[in-house]
């Protein structure tokens, strides 16, 4: 019941974005994925969510290959993701945003709405309940009816997490979840992710530039540089790895309080 990536290679034209990356993640693990800009972190997420077709390599999730999975089936396989830029539905309320994440728990198609309204209503109630559970988990139930705009950035990030949780994922991919957040919001966010990690068996991979955040949060760190994996291990060991320090041009990124090299 693991995520196994082997020899994953991605090319965009003449540029090789990922070169033979191996990575295994087990249930309950919280992995920090770091690396300089252009290292291939987001590309790796794009492969797992089937937005990018790898040139070579294999990806197996819970014993079955991901290669034949269509992008809209990724959520059904138990994989959810948040984006660097907010990927929320702006015309919808906070609850509706999360309900979209939960909608796959309904079985009826479009046609059924006209033919079997009773069953559809029951399903919609169930979807609403799943959405409210996810909102409660991130502490946003009081804001459920608010439009998903004009809220603080940290709050909107939580809405995105709630939508991902409503998919009931077994693998959660967080792409730079704290970029643009203030100091207190970052502490709150770290608590939220740690809480998800400690209270469930979900696999979580966090891409983040904020070294203090990622080093404190994750026991295990994977570092990519120019598309190759250069380190993988306990955070204490990876932060002293000379190749990792080299990748960040000799600047020890976690020495500065801002965290960004």
């Amino acid at each position: 019941m693991t995520l196994e990536i082997g020899g994953l290679t991605v090319r965009f034209g003449g540029v090789t974005a990922l070169t033979e990356v191996d990575l295994t993640v087990r249930p309950g693990e919280l992995v920090g994925l770091i690396g300089p800009n252009g290292a291939g972190k987001t590309t790796l997420f794009d492969c797992l969510t089937r937005r990018v077709e790898p040139a070579a390599g294999r990806m197996r999730f819970e014993g079955a290959g991901l290669e034949g999975t269509a992008p809209h089936e990724v959520a059904g396989r138990g994989i959810a993701r948040t984006f660097q830029q907010l990927g929320l539905f702006s015309g919808l309320s906070v609850r509706e945003n999360v309900m979209v994440g939960a909608h796959r728990h309904g079985r009826s198609g479009f046609g059924a709405a006209a033919i079997r309204p009773g069953r559809v209503r029951r399903e919609e109630r169930a979807i609403r309940r799943i959405a409210d559970e996810a909102l409660d988990r991130v502490g946003l139930l009081p804001l459920a009816d608010h439009p998903a705009v004009h809220l603080p950035h940290g709050t909107l990030k939580r809405v995105e997490i709630a939508r991902a949780l409503a998919v009931r994922p077994r693998l959660l991919l967080l792409d730079e979840p704290i970029s643009g957040l203030g100091h207190d919001e970052i502490a709150d966010f770290a608590r939220l992710v740690r809480d998800m990690h400690l209270t469930s068996d979900i696999m979580i991979i966090v891409v983040e530039h904020h070294m203090e955040f990622v080093m404190n949060l994750c026991e295990r760190i994977v570092c990519l540089d120019s598309g190759r994996k250069i380190a993988d291990g306990a955070s204490g060991r990876v932060r002293r790895d000379p190749r990792v320090i080299d990748a960040y041009l000799g600047v020890v990124p976690w020495a500065s309080p801002a965290g960004r090299p």
């Binding site: 937005r51 992008p71 539905f89 979209v100 909608h103 709405a113 939508r163 998919v167």
Partner: protein, 289 residues
């Protein structure tokens, strides 16, 4: 005074037809950013389907739901078979394809049904059938049908799971797909709903304009005017603009001697130019988000 009131009611009912077709244009534009020049011709095709059913002896209120079902399927099919191939291929390609579709559907209808002008029965009973009062009554019927349709659309989009999924695709297709939504199917359904809305416009206007392959040309111009005023985005402004254009056209045609019946079509164009120059500097056509 009673005459003016009748003119206003008739203007509103014409405007309701323009608003319905404009709403179809706005729906398609919001779903995949395409301006569908063939929207009027698809509505004309639906009207011929309704006419064929009536000729076969069906009562009007039985022919209507069948026509709507056929139109929704046809709209979805057009998206799946034709539009899917040019999506993301640039605005010009999409314009060329929908204009081509417009010409094709028009010619096909002429081939099948000929360009002869046919009368189309008025679905509303002439209860008060003395002089102008009857046309007032059927104008109210048109207004009522369009109002019911818009209320249904509103309830569908706001309060059903399918509507929620469609709004999510409009807001962000990438995030929607990642949440497990089959975006392609939703776009097809969006085109289907738009074709259904256009079909209602065609059927309601057919008793006034008579049935022929070119019947929707003028209506499309007015609908475009309303859609532009709504920024190809905002349904409420679009509907209000459609109603206003209908009233302005009718009143100008009746009371301004210089305009008369021949220059009526210029009214919406003047409205477009006036509004666009007043709004200059602000982008009128917003993206699909």
């Amino acid at each position: 005074m009673g005459d003016l009131l009748l003119q206003v009611v008739q203007g509103l009912s014409l405007g309701a037809v323009y608003a319905a077709l404009a709403l179809a244009l706005v729906l398609v534009h919001r779903f995949n950013g395409i301006v569908n020049f063939a929207q009027g011709e698809l509505a004309m095709l639906s009207t011929y389907v309704a006419w064929q059913l009536l000729e076969a002896g069906l009562p009007f209120w039985a022919a209507l739901p069948i026509t709507l079902a056929v139109s929704v399927s046809a709209g979805a099919l057009v998206e799946r078979v034709v539009i899917r191939r040019v999506e993301g291929g640039g605005e010009l390609a999409c314009v060329a394809v929908t204009v081509g579709l417009m010409v094709l559907v028009n010619a096909a209808a002429g081939l099948v049904w000929s360009f002869a002008v046919r009368s189309f029965p008025n679905p509303f009973p002439a209860v008060l059938s003395f002089g102008s009062a009857q046309s007032g009554f059927s104008a109210l019927g048109v207004l009522g049908v369009v109002a019911v349709m818009m209320l249904t659309l509103h309830l569908f989009f706001r309060h059903t799971g399918a509507g929620l999924i469609m709004r999510a695709v409009v807001a962000d297709p990438v995030a929607a797909r990642l949440s497990g939504i089959r975006v392609g199917r939703v776009l097809s359904l969006g085109w289907g709903v738009a074709a259904g809305v256009g079909a209602v416009a065609g059927i309601l206007v057919a008793p006034l304009l008579f049935l022929e392959p070119n019947m929707m040309g003028g209506v499309l111009v007015y609908a475009f005017a309303a859609a532009v005023l709504g920024g190809f985005h905002d349904p409420v402004t679009t509907v209000a603009a459609g109603l206003a254009i209908g009233v302005a056209e009718t009143l100008a045609g009746t009371y301004v001697k210089f305009v008369g019946a021949d220059l009526k079509v210029a009214v919406p164009l003047l409205v477009i130019v006036a509004v666009l120059s007043l709004r200059r500097g602000r982008a009128v056509v917003r993206g699909t988000g």
